[in-house]
Symmetry: C2
Subunit: 260 residues, 2 copies
């Protein structure tokens, strides 16, 4: 039997979010769990870090006991300060971010604070996993936490599974009862995107303000893509990395004739 | 001779930043320039968008004339609302973000608001370019704006150059006199990274707060990487994309045995 892994848990919905709370309860069954998460909700922050202001932190208590570090900052801040400062004597085996309330598939990945926390774990050299439940409805995260934990445990236990340096896993769990989930699919980031618009409103003083609105344009029919896999009730696992170089056009670009 | 292109300019240093102001002056020499940029500095915001709050905007004036839209939001917000709302009748040929005060090479790319603005342009289907000057010293951006504009104009003029859908260009300009620049290199995102730490200070009430500090660990010797190319006085151009799928591990990952 393998030793208990040390897992840092973070998220972007904030330390009190049920998705994180339920996940920590489940992960405790096989792991030493440490929590460093944003103090409040930080959705759609992308991969931000706080450099112009200092960070404030609080010891977050639960049932009269220390639960984790709440960080007045972004998901990436929370992971950085958790690993490098508050729990610096812990050798972390995994960073797990989530469970996010809402899908992080297709274009949403690049705006995602949940994925950002896992990306930061990867940057710090720790195998990292982002977890999301693909619904915005009110849910209790009980089934999702069990499914997520089972998968995280398999990844830890199986010697044939290795998360390579520089890679993170982006896992999306469909919001259906456990027995309706068809299985696990390894996927690619989908091509679906938002058709955005701005809704103009006037404040009580007659000045305009703008709400971003949008509808998803669905471009992925094949379950080889994340968004389609979860639609078909598969748990979707996408290996991601943060080398943004577009190698598919790199060679062509090298032939451009450009003068300084 | 080609028609004048329509260019949307944005940045992350704010609409009054000299890097943007000088760039707009130069681009005006061959293009119709529209500006939609953050109201104030937004560095290290990553690819954030504002969804929980409405956006406020201001008409920014310069020398008594309309200069552009200042957005109380992120670089991605500014590009979105510029393209989709304020200048929605303009068919944009390019989105240009910058000139950023500081390099956006290697790991810095993923935290970069400058790159984020160009990414958003690409998402909106417009060929997009991020521009950065690789120094934090006080500079006037005059040489950099001329070099940047010359390159943007070549890209526009040359029928053999095509920025493919989904690709953006990340351009870093070394901070040396124009005649010391050796040329243009097409590069890959470097592997250099920050060795971060947190410095703890106590406020006047004795409560701790934390400053992120770090030093760059230089891992790129070859000028095929962005950070090394600018160090050797080349203008670095890296084609980037926002498909984060790690194709290098995708096939291996498909062989994992995971149960739901």
């Amino acid at each position: 039997m393998k030793r208990k892994p040390n897992i840092l848990v973070s998220n972007d919905d904030g330390i009190e979010a049920p998705g994180l709370q339920r996940l920590v309860e489940e992960l405790n069954s096989f792991a030493n769990v440490y929590v460093s998460a944003p103090y409040r909700q930080q959705s759609a922050v992308g991969h931000s870090i706080t450099i112009f202001y200092p960070l404030r932190t609080y010891e977050h208590m639960k049932d009269g006991k220390f639960f984790g570090i709440a960080v007045e900052g972004t998901p990436a801040d929370a992971v950085k300060i958790g690993v490098l400062h508050f729990f610096k004597d812990v050798k972390f085996d995994l960073v797990v971010s989530g469970i996010n309330h809402g899908a992080n598939t297709a274009i949403n990945i690049i705006y995602s604070g949940t994925v950002s926390a896992a990306t930061e774990g990867t940057i710090l050299g720790i195998p990292s996993i982002a977890l999301s439940l693909t619904t915005f409805s009110k849910v209790d995260f009980i089934d999702a936490s069990k499914i997520a934990t089972k998968i995280v445990k398999q990844i830890w236990d199986d010697d044939d599974i290795k998360i390579h340096e520089g890679t993170l896993l982006n896992i999306n769990i469909p919001n259906v009862p456990a027995d309706e989930i068809k299985g696990v699919k390894i996927t690619k980031q989908g091509k679906s995107y938002w058709e955005d618009a701005f809704e103009v409103r006037a404040d009580p003083n007659g000045r305009d303000y703008y709400w971003l609105t949008g509808k998803m344009v669905y471009k992925d029919e094949s379950t080889e893509f994340d968004i389609a896999a979860v639609k078909e009730n598969y748990v979707s696992i996408t290996p991601l990395h943060y080398d943004l170089t577009d190698y598919s056009t790199y060679e062509e670009t090298k032939n451009w004739k450009l003068n300084k």
